[in-house]
Every structure is written in C-alpha cells, then in structure tokens.
Subunit: 187 residues, 2 copies
Amino acid sequence: MQVKQNIPEYYGLSEEEVRMTLESYVEEHYKAGEYFLQEGKIAGKIGFVKKGIFRSFFYNDNTDDITTQFYVPGSLIISIESLNNQVPSKENIVAVVDSELSTVSYERQKQLYELIPAWNRICKDLGDEMNKDMLNRATQLQTMSATERYQDFCTQNPEIIKNVALKHIASYLGIDIATLSRIRRKI
Amino acid sequence: MQVKQNIPEYYGLSEEEVRMTLESYVEEHYKAGEYFLQEGKIAGKIGFVKKGIFRSFFYNDNTDDITTQFYVPGSLIISIESLNNQVPSKENIVAVVDSELSTVSYERQKQLYELIPAWNRICKDLGDEMNKDMLNRATQLQTMSATERYQDFCTQNPEIIKNVALKHIASYLGIDIATLSRIRRKI
DNA sequence: AGCATTGTTTGACAAAAGTCAAATAATGAA
DNA sequence: TTCATTATTTGACTTTTGTCAAACAATGCT
C-alpha cells in the first residue's frame, strides 16, 4: 500500500493542520528482527515506512509461519482489527531489515479525527488503497499459477526479493518452499 | 461485507442527520441478470443489499468470467476504484436473483461527507470491514486446499450455494468447475 | 411440450504442486 | 575461523488440480 504523495496539498490542509500532523509523528528505528506488533498484544499505533521492510505473519494450526503482507517505504502499517477494536492482535509485524518508521499513536490518531476534518478523508483514502491492493492480491491467488505469481512478484517487488528470505516469499505467495525453489531454477 | 447494524445509535446521529441520510437513499429493484454496474461505465452510486444476491466479475485475457465477490443482504456494493476516481469500471456487478437495494448516488455521497461529519467515520468503518473480509479471502486462497475452501464457503454462505451457479462459485474459489464437481461428489 | 442453450458431471489423462528426506549452502554467534 | 543453526536446493515420489471431450441434466423460450 503506497501512501499518496503530497498529502497536505492534496487535501488542502492549512499550515496549522500540517503542523499538528507533523507534531503527531514519532520517528522510530527498528533493527532487523524487532517487532512493531506482537501476537496477543493490542495495537497501539500505525506506522508509515520510511526505510526498510516489514513483514506481517501469523502461525496457523500447524504452527507454520504464514506471511500475510510485506511493507516497503511508502507503505502504511496497520493491524486494522486490533487497532480499531483494541483487541489482541492475531498477527505479528516484524522488521525484516533495519528500518525506520513514522508512527502515530492510537490516541493521537483519534484526536486528529477531531482536530483535522480532512484526516477522515485521508484515512478513508488510505483504506481504499489498501482495499484495492488486497483485492488485487486475492485475484492473483485466485487466477494465477504459482510460476505466474512468483514472476509478477519479482517484477513488482525487486527490493523484497533482494532482502527477504525465500521461505517467506513462498509463504506469502501460497507456494511450498521446495516448489518455489524449482520454479526459480526453471526461470 | 456486513454493514454495522443500528448505524444511527452507534454513531450518535441526530434526528436531523438520520432524516438526511434516509432521504439520500433511493430504493431500486433488480431482476435476475440486471446490471448494477457494467464494465466500461463509471460507477455512479453505492448500494446496500436489502434482498437477493449480486455478483461482481470481470473477463480475463482468455475471456473467462472471473467472479470476484458475492453480495448478500447486509452487504455494501461498491466499485471502489471506479467510484472514487470516476474512471470506467473494470468489473461488472449483476443481480444473480431478483433483488432489492438502497442506493446512494456519488453526488449525494459527497454531500453527506459535508453535511454529516459522522458519515466519514461510517464510511471508514465500512471500508475497514471490507478490508478485513478481503484479507480473510486472500489468506484462505493462500493457505487452504480447494476442498477446504469449498467446505468453508458452504458453511459461511449457504444462501449463495443455494442460488448461484456452481461455475461462479468455482471461479470465486479459484477452482476448475470439473474439479469442484468432483469435490462435491466426495463430500 | 419441444428444442436449443446452458450448466454439471464424468472419464481418461496431463500438468502442477506438495511431501519427505537428504544434501548443500549460507549465516551468525562464540 | 569454526561450528551450529537455519535456509535453500534437489531427488524420488504422491497428491492435487487442471484439461479436454463427451454424456447427461436442467433451464428457459417459443
């Protein structure tokens, strides 16, 4: 999910509103392997990726590590259900490499809805973007072969290919790691 | 996607706001096979399903009819990209059986954002719900076998099973029609 | 009712993808 | 650097899923 560029201009934020927005951000650094959110904990913030890569995943019945999403610079990191309903998260979100985020706390987020009317629209648009991406992902899983999914992923996400363990990409694409290894050999 | 019940109470709408909201709805009847939205046209409204079933689909390169979603009573029908950006739709949305909708036009929708502050939150929450559903769908396609996906679909959507052609369910689940037929025999 | 159209099932087969286990390769910590 | 751990590849094999074509069933017009 890529955050729309030039938010202030686009949404006609006043200088005061821009100032309040910028004040709300907290910069955070994550070492590879550090968690943004852990299973069982309640999400307390959203994050905008400035640098690095994050990965969200959960453990299924068989305790397999299932990757549900990658987050690259420009992405919004949010665990919607946990954050909105303040319930324990079912997913983990972890930095894959050393990374930097701008975060906004849940509390501050709620204030911004009141303070800056346009904030609602910004968040709605971000949500719509996520929706489009998610629909796209579902459609790919629905209609494309393992090889096609991998090839498309490679062209769309060269940075992820370079930095993320193959097994996590395999899991994200719904492909067995051995099968993906063979797909790579053939290409 | 199920629309949250009791919207007025939940979002603290005033009587006046409830009145404006209700005034915005246009009731529409669709015969089986009638289109809510056609590929190439620009989406002009959103719809809440009151009765019946709708189906969204597109044609891929091979001109296969790919079902992307079903809409049952309580669902919000929206073609996000086409409506938000007022660009031609890539998908079709059609009534599977005789159906009834409450619709709100794109123009009125925009007015409501101004007239009723809570409308922003309502729409954001609806979007979040859609997001959750879509993530769930992607995860199923990613991790479950064809048989598991079909079984889960049957328990979650008995009404759809009863009323929609098997080939559309197969397409939605990403399963070949012949394969799904065999899955059914075995169960 | 009769017929054409569309949807579903089935068989025989092919291709895609997964499983298990072992061999390599890469990585990271002492 | 060395060793243990983790990641990736590979082989041999099984299972799942898809393909094609034909048969059968259901549906809807006229």
